[in-house]
Point group: C2
Chain length 242, copies 2
Amino acid sequence: MSTLTRKQREIQNREQMLLGIARTMLVEQGFSHLGLDRLAEATEYSKGTIYQHFSSKEDLVAALAIQSCEKRIDLFSRAAEYSGSTRERAFALVAADELFAERHSHFFRCELIIHMANLDEKASPERRERLQALEQEILGIVLKPITEAVQNRDLVLTGNWTPEKVVFGLFCFAMGGHFGLQNYSSILKQIGVTSRAPHLFDNVNIFLDGLNWKQLSSDFDYSKTTKVVMQEVLADDDNVGN
Amino acid sequence: MSTLTRKQREIQNREQMLLGIARTMLVEQGFSHLGLDRLAEATEYSKGTIYQHFSSKEDLVAALAIQSCEKRIDLFSRAAEYSGSTRERAFALVAADELFAERHSHFFRCELIIHMANLDEKASPERRERLQALEQEILGIVLKPITEAVQNRDLVLTGNWTPEKVVFGLFCFAMGGHFGLQNYSSILKQIGVTSRAPHLFDNVNIFLDGLNWKQLSSDFDYSKTTKVVMQEVLADDDNVGN
DNA sequence: GACAATTTTTGACGATCCGTCAATTATGCA
DNA sequence: TGCATAATTGACGGATCGTCAAAAATTGTC
């Protein structure tokens, strides 16, 4: 059965190759310029073969988004293991997100695109479900330090605040910043916003200070945390799929 | 020349009609299902006529985004005239944004779509420039109460904070929330986020408290502000273009 | 009102792209 | 080797974007 295995591995490798080239085309030329005929020509395979891997053009982009999520989970998991206070760990996750969006913007861009195009209807059910499962996994990772902070009273939530609501706040900062810089760059440039990182970290600090999550940024230097995390996480950050 | 004027007005009316129907099709069926042949049939005009109004499909969507910005500016301008503290006025703008995204989500969706598709290359230069000018106008409106707050020391900015940076923070909350609810609704539902408004207002309050913008939310009930603004602004909020 | 010049409208057409499928080629197995 | 199964191909149908020469409508003039 070694021949069969060889063939199967060959097919798997081909899928990675297809995705790699497709990602390049998608990022450099945009969704509308990503043509399957062109992809077929670029990869020296026929269109029929490509359709054996992906049920539609949208399904292909979904596969790219899945890759992106997997890569993100990889980074997040490592950041979550940072040893420090709950707020430091939350901050580590924000740093990981920032790192991801910066170093792997092409991956992230696939996620944005797949969520804007009507993926829900056109991607294959398998990939749709897998993508959703991965996103839920990410949610769980981010939720963890927050619930822990509530348990050990680093963070005391009042009123109608819940850990999930805190996640939503962080999600808005991250997503709003990413989306803004990708799509409103010209207008943001005019207000001096050209790079996410410093603003994102300051925003998050103000937000967490507002929630009174100990230690406050006045009592602890979180820029060190981010720096250490960035370097640790970045250390063995492999550029899979170029 | 009254006949010429009549003809010209006829053409202008036709453009509004085209945009109205196109917006419905875009919102109900998505960008990919917005076909110019179908639009031609629905409006009982020919495709050639449509191309006399819009240089391309993307240009049409740009025109929709322009309408959206104009409507937004209308709401923002009125919210900006709210008489109250600087922070109340900033809050009024957030409320206007929320109102806009809620009551005119179809308009807003056009803005998102046009910024995701490669508008930059395919829309007509005129509409591209107009859209950018409108966005800059919006920026100016939002910037005003912040700079005023800095001037009268309701808000004291320390470190590397600037009014523009505060705008960016608010922008992230608003955009991140909108984008999230439009595109990540299934995952957000699982954490109990189904409606923007309450979370958005709470988030903004925490953020502005973190910036120490007087009066703090513990000393003033901003929910009243939003309620009043929503009703005042909503009062003569005409649903132009259905 | 008739007729010519100009503007507007039309829809057929070429080009492009997605997804299919019958025919062809390659592979596994006895 | 020879047959059965699996993989690959590219031509094709259907749909859509944008163009353009021909047709229709409008304007201006006598």
